[in-house]
Amino acid sequence: MMNLAWVVPLFPLCSFALLLLFGRKWKKASAYVGIVATLLSLLAALGVLAGRLGGTTYEANWTWMQIGDVTLTAGFSVTALNAWMLVVVAFVSWLVHIYSQGYMAGDERFSTFYAYLGLFTFAMLGLVLSPNLLQAYIFWELVGLGSFLLIGFYFYKEEAKAAAKKAFIMTRIGDVGFFIGMLLLFWQTKSFDYDDIFRAVGDGTLSPGMTTLTAILIFIGAIGKSGQFPLHTWLPDAMEGPTPVSALIHAATMVAAGVYLVAALFPLYEASEAAMMTVAVIGGVTAIFAATIGLVQTDIKRVLAYSTISQLGYMMLALGSGSYVAAIFHLTTHAFFKALLFLAAGSVIHAVHTQNIEEMGGLWRRLPWTAPLFLVGALSISGVPLFAGFFSKDEILAAAWLNGSVELFWLAVAAALLTSFYMFRLFFLVFTGEARHDGDAHEAPMSMVGPMVVLGVLSVASGYIQTPWFGSFLGEWLTDGAYHHEAAPGWIAVVATIVSLVGILLAWLMYGKRTVPRDWLSARAPHGYELLRRHYYVDDFYRWTVVALVSFISRLLAYVDRYLVEGIVRLVTGTVSAAASAGSRGQNGQAQTYGAVTVAGLAILVVIFALTGGYWL
């Protein structure tokens, strides 16, 4: 089965191609093409996973391009990590395909949407299967393309246009880091293959400095794609895309690609203390940073987006702390509960036609399926014990503690507190209290509810693949059994639990019971509040620094181009034409002037000759 792993991404690609060509004709039926294709992918992925359970790996390569003696290859490999990722991706993708059938119904570009979904799924699966950095980079960018197309799906909205452009460009900035790192690595190791790179790391071919440099450069790519600080600003804006897209791309899969990349290159990172430190610090900072912004957002999807950023920060923190397993574990659980949350949010939006939480409220009864499922997701992400998020977050906190980075540990704990607070702020504002919107809100159709139910189940169940109580299945699987669970101090779990419960309580006091006034923060620290509401002015900072600088330079160059470069050309042509008119004016029609010029010429020649004694030049 594993030698057929390449078919996994092929199905969505076919779906993309077919829908691009015939989608306009098929209209509604397009959905089924997409759903079937992803289902087939999922089945194939499961087959690969099953094969992988047998404990073997598989790798196949074909020549992609030859450069002299160097052969660049394309192929696929099956490792524990990517077999697992295949399933997660294919699964979430399949669910989103199903969900979209309901959510996107009635859109005139319905088939286009499915085509784009197919393209994205293909790219994501391709990325996961890549056995070498170059191929990973190719799919990495294609994933970005899929994301770009889907964010800009409502192309006629200026905001969507801007968001799509921003997403592409911000991630591109990261990608260039990846690109540079990749090419540097190539000349150090003479290969793009992960295995060759790891070998070079192992036998010291790669100098420590270069290891750190390339690792950090590649990590910049991960920062861009995973929305880590400081390249995170595109992710909230990306919420302009249709909600299923947010669920699939900006929660479960693409943004996790950064985490996956670092995980896939983990031996490279492990070899460099500095790189690990960078990853951990960026992750930790992002976790708390995004969480604070999430506190004050009023757009339901933006809150979720900042929460995603924050959670991805957790994963990075885990990686940086050396716990590769914790990262992947959290990636998995997060994929499920965040997808659930987004889909539920989509369902809410579908019902009330607004994304502003101030205009929602009291939806608990109106949305009998969505509301509890959202609650499950919220509990899971908040790390309430027995939900999946609890286990994975606990694992990360433990990893951070065990790694000795106490500051980062407490940062993560603080972030956990904030997480549970803003999630329940959201919950209470949306589902409890009085309705602040007009019109009817109806529960979504079954095609939307169904996937949410499945995800709801998984948001609880996926936690049990790696628990301190039942055993660390995931860890052993990912490390081929080498994994052994380091016993974290028991108090960490307790602290985590308390923290999450405190967060929920605070949210309840403020938004549920309203004993604490809502403008508590804004009244007490208006500047701080504004700071958060404006996302720490990061966007503005970029606008006034990077964008302004580039704009200034390009304006400067435009002047250089128009006046200096063209000016020199003008000067030359002007000189020639002035010489022409001078020469023409000198031709004054006087025969004797002509003679005089001649005689003057003769005299000059003769005099020069007489004076220099014949030694010319």
Partner: protein
């Protein structure tokens, strides 16, 4: 200082004086007359140089023929000629450039010729150089001689073509 030297100086003086006078005069006819002096001086020099035949030709052609046709041309075209009219062209710059160039050129050449000497005294030149010239013309220089005849033909026709007033009848055609 021998007699020839004195003769040379006188003749040279006459020639140069004629030229310089020509440059100074304002009346065109006077200018031509002044140049006749130069031409005659040159003819005298030819005699000093034992070139009697050339001297004769010089007198006939330059002092005679050419001067006459020049005078004719002046008369023919002298409808509104005014002696007070400006006799030199261009502005100061033009004349200055011309003068400086000519002067510089003259000096540079003079630098070369001031002590040019081949040590020949030219005594070999036969007294009857007309015969000698004839011999050269009809043997060695036959071809250029013929060409010159063609040139004179061309000049003849050309002068007629250019100077002749086209008859009314011809123009009507």
């Amino acid at each position: 200082m021998s007699g020839t030297d004195i003769a040379f100086f006188l003749l040279a003086l006459a020639a140069i004086a004629g030229g310089v006078t020509m440059l100074q005069l304002t009346n065109v006819v006077h200018m031509v007359i002044a140049l006749v002096m130069t031409f005659l001086g040159i003819a005298g020099l030819y005699v000093l140089l034992s070139a009697e035949f050339v001297a004769v030709v010089q007198v006939l052609i330059y002092s005679g023929a050419i001067t006459i046709i020049m005078l004719f041309a002046i008369m023919l075209t002298r409808h509104h000629a005014d002696d007070k009219e400006r006799q030199t062209t261009g502005g100061v710059w033009h004349r200055a450039v011309a003068a400086i160039s000519v002067l510089a050129f003259g000096l540079a050449v003079y630098f070369g010729i001031r002590r040019l000497d081949f040590g020949a005294d030219g005594s070999a030149l036969a007294a009857d150089n007309a015969r000698e010239i004839g011999k050269w013309l009809y043997s060695y220089y036959t071809i250029p001689f013929e060409i010159v005849s063609v040139i004179l033909l061309v000049a003849l026709i050309g002068a007629i073509v250019l100077a002749k007033k086209d008859g009314k009848g011809a123009e009507d055609k």
